[in-house]
């Protein structure tokens, strides 16, 4: 093993622990997705709500900002005191961190809808719900998705750190690498899939974001 180069060591690790890496990959991914999903379930309504009650927006966004400034390791430790070790704590942390980008983007997206269009919609006899469904959400959906995309990339990073409190995942492989002598290849075996996951997620969501951009031209 020692006489192999870093790259061959990496290949060796993958060929022998392929399924294990894949499992950890899925685990990390799912934990991040869950966290962000909960973040979206809570954050999007909050974003819509504060866009209707503009006075609340500085308070809510302020709170979300404060959460964001807490270092993730500290947040994990604090939540661990209450929720204990394991994946739930990490999901909760990802949830908290995803709130800011999701709330902020939802809020911005809602406010970016042309007030004249809203006035026309209301004036033509749309109910509040119809205005929301047929005007506000379609016109701000791509901005909301951009927020989710930010939250997910952020969430993947936090999930990896989450292995410190026993959530498993790709972070475990990295930690093992740091503990081993000459564990460079093992660190890479954890870090490369993590990076890959973040990049792919970003690309996929940016594609979705573009698809959801309201169609405003009959060409193509």
């Amino acid at each position: 093993m020692k006489d192999m180069g870093l790259f061959s060591q990496l290949i060796y690790y993958f060929t022998h622990n392929g399924m294990y890496v894949l499992n950890q990959f899925n685990l990390t991914f799912l934990v991040s997705i869950y966290g962000v999903l909960f973040g979206a379930i809570v954050g999007i309504p909050i974003g819509i709500w504060i866009s209707q009650n503009r006075k609340l927006s500085p308070i809510i966004i302020g709170i979300a900002n404060v959460i964001q400034t807490i270092p993730s390791l500290a947040m994990l430790s604090i939540l661990m005191l209450g929720l204990g070790l394991g994946q739930n704590t990490v999901i909760a942390t990802v949830f908290l961190y995803s709130l800011l980008p999701i709330i902020k983007n939802t809020y911005t997206g809602m406010l970016s809808v042309d007030p004249d269009v809203l006035d026309a919609g209301k004036g033509m006899g749309m109910t509040r719900f119809q205005v929301m469904k047929t005007i506000r959400i379609p016109l701000s959906l791509s901005v909301i998705i951009a927020g989710i995309r930010n939250a997910l990339v952020l969430g993947i990073g936090i999930t990896v750190i989450g292995s410190f409190i026993g959530s498993g995942g790709l972070g475990d492989i990295i930690v093992r690498g740091t503990n081993a002598t000459n564990g460079g290849a093992i660190i890479l075996a954890g870090a490369l899939p993590t990076a890959l996951m973040a990049i792919i997620t970003d690309l996929v969501l940016s594609f979705i974001e573009k698809r959801l951009m309201p169609k405003t031209s009959s060409e193509n």
Partner: protein
Amino acid sequence: MLLSMEHLNKEYPNGKLAVDDFNLQVDRGEFICFIGTSGSGKTTTMRMINRMLNQTSGTIKINGKDISKMDPVKLRRSIGYVIQNVGLMPHMTIQENIEIVPKLLGWSKEKRAKQAVKMIDLAQLPQEMLNRYPGELSGGQQQRIGVVRALAADQDIILMDEPFGALDPITRESLQELVKRLQEDLGKTFIFVTHDMDEALHLATRVVIMSHGKQVQVDTPNNILRHPANEFVTNLIGEERLIRAQPNILSVSQIMLKNPVAITPDKTLDDAIDLMHSRRVDTLLVTNAEGVLEGYVDLDDINRITDATTPVSRFTNREVFYVQASSLISDTVDRILKQGVKNVPVVDAKKHLVGIVTRTALVDIVYDALRGAPATDEEPASPINADIHAAATHEGGESSQ
């Protein structure tokens, strides 16, 4: 009465009175323009009609039904609404945009599609445009869609808030023709907010002039041009426009001098000469005892007669050119000027003499209308005018009515 607004008040929480005791009765098929400076409450008043705003007090009734007791959503679906910045949904095709209200009302897909085609024809745009998006249309085309969208569910009342304010003059004119046509051909009732006086005078059947939340004047465009209620209205209309409009709205009776110098046929030559001398004129109009115009006598004709007791009837020139007091200046000015006479007697419907129009006064009006500049006539423009003026302001002719 299709729409009646009574004692409307709108007070904002800061105590500012945006609309102050607004009253208006609107009949079916009328085209009402609200005009005023910004902050005059015209848009606020309009927005209360579809309950985009609620009045502080007062009632609005549509077909006799108090709208404050109606569901605002249903109310709005029955009233067309067009705003200045068009407000087409950018993510919907033109067809979807036109179909918004019909869809809200639950029309079937086929009926909606048929209506969309009908509406785009009404807007005089090609049917292919139905599949385009608003962003692909020019500003004028977008507003055309905006206008017909407000009619798509066959609304009777259309509210328009400065709909053409952002358009270039040529496009604006063609859109004005469109809405005028809709009002005249389809009998739609328009409530139209504008700050463009030309637009208001051109389109409206009645104009509501507003200032600081109060109605200053409510009348037809012609009456407003003819009798501006106060200085504010005059300023809003603009001196230029008033002068240009004069030949079209002024009647002969408004520019004539009243109490012309007249004499009855039974008087003698001496009396005639005395009267001419004392009033300093060279022609006398001859009227009978009832004041009916019979002719005129001229100083030149009198000179040839020597017998001082000759009755006036003997030398009355009976071929007299006269105009009706009620006729418009624009209709008579050509005839008067072509006659080449100095002044023209004005009669009422029964040929009673009621006044006299001087050639100078007419020429002034024609020039002003051409030039659009106000005349600087503190003093009468010519000696003839001065004479007549002096004569007319004197105690008055014997047969004045």
